[in-house]
Amino acid sequence: MTELHAISWLPPWAAQRELALEHFRVDGPRPYPCARPTLAAWGELAAGLAQAQELLLATPIATIIAAIDQVSRRWTDRSYALRRSAVTAVAEATGFSSEAVERSFDVELRNYRADSLVRTLERELGDPAVLDGFVPDRRLAGHTHAIGPKITLVILTGNVPGLPALSIVRALLLKSAVIAKVASGEPTFAAYFARSLSEALPVLGDVLTVSYWRRDETAVLDAALGVSDAVIAYGSDEACASVRARLRSDQRYVEHGHKLSLGLISRDYLRELGVDEVARRIALDVSTFNQHACIAPQAYLVEDHGGSARELAAATARALAQYAGECSLGTLAEADAAALQLRRASAAWEAATQPSAELWHAPGLDWTLQLSARLLPLAAAGNRDLRVVGCSDLSDAIAHITPIGRHLQNVAVGARGAALFDAARALARIGACRISEPGQMAEPSMIWRHDGELCLARLVRFCDIEMHRFVV
């Protein structure tokens, strides 16, 4: 990766084709060098990507899976050279501590091992070989073949270190070329990941382009959209809506807009695992990705009997402190620090005026925990800032959540048996799309139907052979 292209990845053939590029620096406190095709050259880029994609189409899915598996193995090795560079770059871009980035990479990048990829394809498409050609389909009494997009535009988010890998891997699994637009908040990881893919299987590097444009550079967005058959977009509801509004009717689209996550703890679960273990699990959920991920809990609602919510909150404060001792938050941007100080001041006032409320926090800004009788309004915004809310029972907890159900994504349910399934059913009906055990919120498998959707199946077109005397 040359300094000139620092946050971009251009396929190696781009130089031979003399693709016209513009070189610029990303606006912001760190003016990263970047390159992208000139406005007139997006068609040429698309032609080159399509040519390379023909080779990818001819590559067996098993080979692609093996290459991605190799990349995953490399990235889960903390001594891997590209990972070392990426950790430094991502920590600098996000303010995360190096250890927080390391732990994010550990969690995020082990998802792409072969077994996980195969099971993902099986769950969504049936037989992975369906991507290579026609395969028998018993239910159809015929054969079926899945055709992925020729080029997928991926609009990435920068809130979680390593997360850009997910959309890139999804598109590559469908044998699609990828144009990835990085986020200004963390623009560095994707180019490192692209390089590692290229090293594992050169054709993967040949079908990849990573670059950047500002949100107001709509001409560039339109140029990228114009050459893409499918789009995967992460971002705010407004950002996703603006992409959606520009799509052609023939383009396939998967978006991951704003979501939030919470946890519930039943009295029985607390008794069975013990306060300290439950607290450790909650602290893990909150601290991973510095709570920037949509899957990270902003609040835990706890069945409160005889002060158990306060006891668990106090234990969670200790667990957050212990986690921070091993893995500090990092350095917050001034605006985030100011916002956190205001939230702490509000929580301190509530604790001073409400007997049921309390506030614990690190001497610095590493973590903050508020005990409150109310879930809303809640001004949590990540950076390991959790609210614990006491509830009479799980039904009461779900009643607290119901008004915001349509935004719900990931819910940890600390319960078992009928209580677990009753809560899960109620949560599913109000909007949740993932239920896990406390302590597992930050580790959704790739197999999970992300945001409740079939993220691969929605991007492919199937062709079935049926009702044919020579094909059964």
């Binding site: 979501k259 006032w349 800004l365 949590a380």
Partner: protein, 360 residues
């Protein structure tokens, strides 16, 4: 420690000392502040608890006035309560005053208005883009403007040029015409963005004036959070085009329901990102900036704005306003609100949901 009663000599002396300070700057501000702090710790267990929890004596947040707002004198019911406007669905903040508190507030408002607004003018025509007190009895700005106009404005020609339907352009035009005809200076006063709208409407109607010498504009608030981008220079250019008021005759004030006093521009030099001028300090009210990382006071640079207002007798006199402040040798520029929760990528904060749904 026993609660300090409203009629105790402690409070009477404190009131007298603050009044003296406001009247002629004589007195010991540090001693007054120490006694206000003692009053708060003694009369409000919540304040005492809060002070113990917060480092470096940081003030109470504006959010403290939304639920169970503090008031120091249970033995003396408030004579007046002002409330924040609030957005739909959100709890409004409240600030209550005893009779002495109201007297201090009025003294502060008038002292500052004399020195900051009407200096060199004799009973100018005040034209307010703010409703009269009778129509907005809980709005502190309506109250303050009415006091200023009653005490310092032209008794017959001053007017509110806003009614239930919006700006009364006929009345505004008539008064401006009259002021020009009789060479009477005018003070226009209202919210910052109200002036933007009024100037644009005047331009659309083809109306403009060159107001008499001494005329001035006082805008309150700022521009952050507005969909339209405009800055101090932009507003001043509009005012110059529509009213013939020079940029040097424009002044911004900062006030909030939770404060008894206001802050005014102290120097005509751009300090904030939108050209915000530094607000100055007086003996009885001043802005200061707290570091975003450790809440220590800063003499330069940005952080959380805190206002210390010695004219607040009935509740905490140090307020973390929720705004961003930029400290300099000339004062503190107020550079918009601090967003308490900001969504990141696909992660949505509950704060963002709450505010979204309040606007749905």
């Amino acid at each position: 420690m026993a609660r300090i009663r409203y009629r105790d000599p402690f409070v009477a002396r404190l009131f007298d000392d603050i009044a003296q300070l406001v009247t002629d700057d004589t007195g010991d501000a540090a001693s007054i502040e120490a006694r206000l702090s003692e009053l708060g710790r003694t009369n409000s267990p919540a304040v005492a608890d809060y002070v113990r929890r917060m480092p470096h004596g940081a003030g109470v947040p504006d959010s403290a006035f939304k639920v169970d707002p503090p008031y120091y004198f249970p033995d003396e019911p408030p004579v007046r309560t002002f409330r924040t406007s609030g957005t739909t669905g959100q709890t409004r903040g409240a600030a209550s005053y005893s009779a002495r508190g109201m007297q201090l507030m009025e003294a502060s408002i008038l002292r500052q208005a004399r020195s900051q607004i009407t200096g060199g003018l004799d009973a100018p025509i005040f034209l307010r883009l703010v409703p009269p007190e009778s129509r907005a009895p809980e709005m502190v700005m309506a109250y303050g403007m009415e006091r200023i106009v009653s005490a310092l404005g032209h008794p017959e020609l001053s007017a509110c040029v806003i009614d239930a339907r919006g700006i009364d352009y006929a009345l505004l035009s008539a008064r401006l015409d009259l002021a020009v005809r009789d060479a009477l200076p005018v003070v226009l006063i209202g919210g910052s963005f109200a002036f933007v709208n009024v100037c644009e409407e005047l331009e659309a109607r083809g109306l403009r004036w060159s107001l008499p010498r001494g005329s001035r504009v006082v805008d309150a608030g700022g521009f952050k959070g507005r969909a339209r981008g405009i800055d101090v220079a932009g507003l001043r250019a509009l005012l110059h085009r529509s009213l013939g008021v020079s940029p040097a005759a424009c002044l911004n004030l900062f006030g909030m329901t939770e404060l008894a006093s206001q802050l005014y521009d102290a120097a005509d030099s751009a300090l904030g990102p939108l050209g915000e001028r530094p607000k100055g300090r007086s003996t009885f009210v001043w802005p200061q900036v707290r570091d975003a990382y450790d809440l220590q006071l800063r003499t330069h640079g940005s952080g959380l704005l805190e206002v210390v207002d010695l004219c607040i007798l009935d509740r905490p006199h140090r307020i973390l306003t929720g705004d961003r402040g930029i400290a300099s040798a000339h004062g503190v520029a107020i550079a918009g609100r601090i967003e308490r929760g900001q969504s990141r990528g696909c992660s949505l904060t509950l704060d963002a949901i709450t505010s979204q749904e309040a606007h749905d």
